[in-house]
């Protein structure tokens, strides 16, 4: 078993698990992540025949099914593709794969159940530590690092005030992320900073944003719209009060939620908020001189082109 409290070093080639959101509402995140990888000389190998991770709902109905859905992807990466790092840019996918890893490592009943499921489906059994699951933020932070980012900047993000919104599933619950909270160089679950570090290295001014992991209503965003709109509105207003022009995101669900409820708050509550939403991969891509179209900025609901022109980034 690998040391679960430290990330592996060689991240130049990783198994890429986009998840279903990146093929739909989060397509711009998919596009910008792939484009960024190409620019940075990193190789993403998409997992063959990947399946849904179980998203937010399956685990509450049947956690074993959710775990199996997640480990099937990890097993393909390891046993079929020979890769031992899986990179998931979506917080939901990342969270579910980490949770499955945690359960496989710590629960005998989970191991037994997953072994039976693997036998039934003919899939190689997944064992604890077969792969390491990382987020896109881990990947850029460790494979490239701040110094190299600064060296590659063609258009500094200077003048852009950014509030970083990490959402909830990137850090909670803490026990499924053993590599976090390990001191210098590791990510913090209470005050995450990897996105701050990367965007600051590209020249951005990072504002002190107190709601960076606050709940946005999550899975209730469609069923109980009003609650989600109020939670998101408070996040948007807090970012505005911090002086942010932009809210940077690293999850397709967070990103869509912020975008949709910003529009909804304006339409139903008549409250307009100014910050625009951009994926951190889009912001880094702009700093590296990649065109907005190649980064899928036109696919965002949030209209950021005016601001980007004003700041000389396009």
């Amino acid at each position: 078993m690998s040391d679960s409290t430290h990330l592996r070093d060689d991240l130049d080639t990783v198994a890429y698990y986009p998840g279903c959101a990146l093929e739909g509402s989060g397509h711009a995140y998919n596009r910008s992540t792939k484009r960024l990888a190409r620019k940075l000389g990193l190789k993403l190998v998409e997992i063959d025949n990947w399946n849904c991770c179980g998203a937010m709902e399956v685990k509450n109905i049947d956690p074993d099914i959710q775990n199996y859905l997640s480990v099937r992807n990890m097993s393909i990466a390891k046993h079929k593709m020979g890769l031992d790092v899986v990179m998931a840019p979506c917080n939901g996918c990342y969270h579910n794969l980490k949770k499955a890893e945690h359960d496989v490592t710590h629960r005998e009943d989970t191991r037994e159940t997953l072994k039976k499921m693997a036998e039934k489906t003919g899939q190689p059994e997944y064992k604890s530590g077969d792969v390491e699951t990382i987020h896109a933020l881990d990947w850029i932070k460790h494979a490239i690092g701040e110094k190299n980012i600064t060296g590659k900047v063609k258009k500094s993000l200077a003048g852009l005030k950014i509030a970083n919104y990490y959402g909830c599933m990137y850090t909670r619950p803490r026990h499924i992320f053993p590599e976090k909270d390990q001191g210098e160089g590791s990510e913090s679950t209470s005050k995450p900073h990897f996105m701050d570090d990367l965007l600051r290295a590209a020249g951005a001014e990072i504002v002190d944003f107190p709601l960076k992991t606050a709940c946005c209503g999550g899975a209730h965003t469609l069923s109980d719209c009003d609650t989600s709109t109020q939670l998101v509105l408070n996040i948007l207003q807090a970012a505005e009060a911090c002086g942010a022009d932009v809210i940077a995101t690293e999850c397709p669900t967070c990103h869509s939620g912020l975008e949709m409820h910003q529009v909804r708050a304006q339409e139903t509550l008549n409250i307009k908020t100014q910050p625009v939403m951009l994926y951190f991969t889009q912001l880094l891509g702009l700093a590296f001189g990649i065109s907005p179209r190649q980064l899928g900025i036109h696919e965002n609901i949030s209209q950021s082109m005016g601001l980007l022109r004003q700041k000389g980034l396009v």
């Binding site: 937010m56 709902e57 685990k59 509450n60 956690p63 959710q66 939901g92 969270h95 949770k99 945690h102 359960d103 909830c168 599933m169 850090t171 909670r172 619950p173 026990h175 499924i176 209470s190 002190d208 107190p210 709601l211 992991t213 606050a214 709940c215 209503g217 999550g218 899975a219 209730h220 109980d224 609650t227 109020q230 939670l231 408070n234 996040i235 207003q237 807090a238 009060a241 911090c242």
Partner: protein, 132 residues
């Protein structure tokens, strides 16, 4: 019990006109405690007067979080509120009161939301299966 709308007004006032309070930080800490007291009272629990890590807010949160995994989210919110108010005590920067008020408002929206929709927060970061 203090109604959520009264607490909301206090938070809004602390944010917009902090000079109307002799100690706006204290008002916001009290607002946080009142929010959690409402949750506990609604669940037939006597709100504790104990402190945890020096703060009653954290003791109240812990009391409410028993058997309630969806309280992970407001644990972070409670700690952030304390952090912002601690910063204010050090530098007396009014912007810290604005930030603390936004955090207190988030706590209110989340708890009030949970009292209206019991499952709020249970399908995302607080997967029950990860902790059972």
């Amino acid at each position: 019990m203090t109604s959520f709308s009264d607490i909301e007004q206090t938070i809004a006032l602390a944010r917009e006109r902090p000079q109307e309070f002799s100690d706006p930080a204290d008002q916001l800490m009290q607002a946080g405690e009142l929010i959690l007291e409402n949750w506990l009272t609604a669940h037939d629990l006597e709100p504790t007067d104990e402190k945890r890590e020096g703060f009653r807010l954290l003791a109240l949160h812990r009391q409410g979080a028993r058997h309630e995994t969806s309280f992970h989210a407001c644990r972070e919110t409670c700690r952030e509120l304390i952090y912002q108010l601690n910063l204010y005590q050090v530098n007396k920067d009014p912007q810290q009161i604005v930030m603390a008020a936004m955090v207190a408002m988030h706590l209110l929206l989340f708890i009030r939301g949970k009292m209206e929709i019991q499952e709020l927060g249970e399908f995302c970061c607080n997967s029950r299966s990860a902790t059972t």
